[in-house]
């Protein structure tokens, strides 16, 4: 079983209920196609988890199962509830943005705020209005009059003002420019997140969320390819800038991936690979540094489209 939990000694207070999301043998088939293939994972409270995988790897299906949008096989518990049978109770504490969600064209900004305030007991109106004031949205504006990015801004403003225990963001920043994306992740970390909350994010722009993540879940062909905390990843994976004369020796240590850069080879090593590999061994080869999540992802997913 891949456990994200307990990967790092928790420095902050540990919530009473350990797992916000836990899956055992979670499987989803579409006809003969297996979208999610018996995966196990556990996400404790107070984490920001990046669920990362290539297109069609089963990310969205996993999230939809957790949100009670599709039937599935196996066990899945979200905040202690079964999303298949207890969805109505679950949605009081969970909020999400699904990757293909579109706000209805006829909705006005002010009506949207009124509506969510009316139906959601954990909605903070002033917070939503603050986020909206930060954009070019006007209260009387209808969704059909907005640009794609403005629709996303409205949606994010609504969702960020909901004090949910679990927030699931499936490609939340699609269509947003870089300025707003940065600002959004900043808000997410500073305004929204706390130890009681858990956020699960999927995105293709991994480099932008790397610094806010506490945990990584790589998913490939419906299976978990890697589940670890960022600290664990920092200890386990090492990138080495190998000068050309040592390249052959380095290659003998079986790097996960290599690429050329400024006349040197940048090699990625897994220190926990079979056979073992010590940090000092790698330091002898050249300058050692932390790999980026994007590079790690590329190395892990090699051959996904082959």
């Amino acid at each position: 079983m891949n456990t994200v939990q307990d990967a790092v000694p928790n420095t902050t207070l540990k919530p009473a209920s350990s797992a916000v999301l836990s899956a055992r043998g979670l499987t989803k088939r579409y006809g003969k196609q297996v979208a999610v293939d018996g995966i196990d994972f556990e996400i404790p409270a107070g984490r920001i988890v990046g669920l990362i995988g290539p297109n069609g790897s089963g990310k969205t299906t996993t999230l939809k199962a957790a949100l009670g949008l599709i039937p599935f096989e196996g066990e899945l518990s979200v905040l202690g509830l079964d999303p298949r049978t207890q969805r109505d109770a679950l949605m009081k504490d969970v909020c999400f943005i699904a990757d293909v969600t579109i706000l209805p064209r006829w909705l006005r900004v002010k009506d949207a705020v009124d509506f969510v305030e009316g139906v959601h007991p954990r909605f903070d109106r002033s917070k939503a209005e603050r986020y909206i004031a930060n954009t070019r949205l006007k209260p009387g504006m209808k969704v059909k009059e907005m640009s794609k990015g403005m629709v996303v801004q409205l949606h994010l403003a609504l969702v960020m003002a909901i004090d949910a225990r679990l927030l699931v963001l499936d490609e939340p920043t699609l269509g947003l420019d870089i300025l707003y994306r940065k600002q959004f992740y900043q808000h997410l970390l500073e305004d929204y997140f706390d130890e009681q909350k858990t956020i699960v994010i999927t995105t293709h722009q991994v480099e932008e969320i790397e610094h806010i993540l506490t945990d990584l879940l790589f998913i490939r062909d419906g299976k978990i390819a890697l589940a670890a905390s960022m600290e664990e990843i920092g200890q386990r994976y090492v990138e080495v800038m190998v000068p050309n004369e040592k390249a052959a020796a380095a290659r003998a240590l079986q790097p996960l991936d290599q690429r050329a850069m400024f006349g040197k080879s940048v090699m990625l090593f897994d220190t926990q690979r079979a056979g073992g590999l010590s940090r000092s061994q790698l330091e002898a080869l050249g300058e050692v540094r932390h790999p980026s999540v994007a590079d790690l992802f590329v190395a892990t997913m090699k051959g996904s489209y082959a």
């Binding site: 939809k64 949100l67 949008l69 599709i70 039937p71 969805r87 109505d88 949605m91 009081k92 909020c95 999400f96 943005i97 699904a98 293909v100 969600t101 579109i102 706000l103 209805p104 064209r105 006829w106 909705l107 006005r108 009506d111 009124d114 509506f115 969510v116 009316g118 139906v119 959601h120 007991p121 949606h155 969702v159």
Partner: protein
């Protein structure tokens, strides 16, 4: 309950055009055409010509008192009938509303937004059924009553200026005040009759991936045609007869026609209706109409409607959109 209130408001935001502006436009047309007609008659005809029993009565004094009373009685009891066109618009609007209600949100994927909020599928579907069965008819009734009053005032003023002052007798007639209540009292009956249609349309709306209208109308109509054809063949060879007429009247008509106000008059003895010569007799019409509830078929159809609404709730729960 609070959620329900917001869900219904949500429907009205989305369908304001269909539920408010469409009847208002019809009402405005009625006021312009009929009200304008009264005023035109006022402006162009010099003397008052009251046609009574084929005799031209010119002077005011010449109008027999019993004619006065009868005209006032008709005006007081039937003034709402002038808004009949509004009640032809209502079923059309509600029919297409129900077809779109659970389909459009899947087509544009806004369903995922609604599902991200703490509202159950049950509440959502019931709010749409409530809009179709209660809110939309009430809006039409309200607009209808207001329009009728405007037209009645215009008509009374026009005839008063011409010398036939019916204002006092109309105001003194109890039916003038009771008519709106009579109209409203049809609502529960309307709901029972409309349930099978609303249920069927919502079910198709939550089930069909596309071409909702074709599914909703095509399935019952093709079933009826197939049955008629089959009946024809079987009848030729064996002399047996399937009850196609029964299927058409009890199934297809209830599935597709239940939104039509007054569809229940199809089951009412026609002679009683033809004898309305002093204006509409509200209590009698209500009595006749509610009498149709004695037939178990009405209740079976309404129960089927509820079952189909339940089916729509279940379908919405697990419909997977992309």
């Amino acid at each position: 309950m609070n959620t329900m209130k917001w869900l219904i408001r949500r429907e009205l935001w989305e369908h304001k055009g269909a539920f408010v502006y469409a009847p208002l436009a019809v009402a405005a047309a009625l006021v312009l055409l009929l009200g304008g007609g009264f005023l035109y008659a006022l402006a162009t005809t010099g003397a008052f010509h009251f046609q009574a029993n084929g005799q031209q009565v010119i002077t005011i004094e010449g109008v027999p008192p019993e004619m006065y009373a009868r005209a006032a009685a008709i005006a007081a009891s039937s003034y709402l009938a002038i808004t009949a066109p509004l009640f032809l618009v209502l079923p059309v609007v509600v029919f297409f509303y129900c077809l779109a209600a659970l389909h459009d949100e899947r087509r544009d994927r806004s369903i995922l937004f609604w599902k991200s909020l703490p509202m159950s599928d049950q509440e959502t579907v019931l709010s749409k059924a409530a809009v179709a069965l209660v809110v939309a008819p009430l809006l039409t009734v309200a607009i209808g009553i207001a329009t009728s009053l405007v037209l009645l005032v215009l008509g009374l003023l026009a005839s008063a200026v011409k010398g036939v002052n019916l204002i006092a007798p109309v105001l003194a007639n109890a039916n003038f005040y009771l008519s709106p209540l009579y109209l409203l009292s049809f609502l529960p009956l309307y709901i029972v009759w409309a349930l099978p249609t609303v249920g069927w349309l919502l079910l198709v709306s939550s089930w069909a991936r596309s071409k909702v209208f074709l599914w909703a109308v095509g399935v019952p109509v093709i079933a009826l045609a197939l049955l008629a054809w089959f009946d024809f063949l079987v009848g030729r060879f064996s002399g047996l007869s399937l009850n196609v007429k029964w299927f058409g009247e009890e199934v297809v008509a209830r599935m597709l026609g239940g939104l039509m106000p007054g569809i229940w008059f199809g089951e009412v003895n026609g002679r009683a209706l033809a004898e309305q010569n002093a204006g509409l007799d509200g209590p009698m019409l209500i009595g006749l109409s509610y009498g149709t509830l004695a037939s178990p078929a009405v209740w079976i159809a309404a129960a089927a409607g509820c079952a189909m609404i339940y089916g729509a709730i279940r379908l919405r729960r697990w419909r997977d959109e992309g």
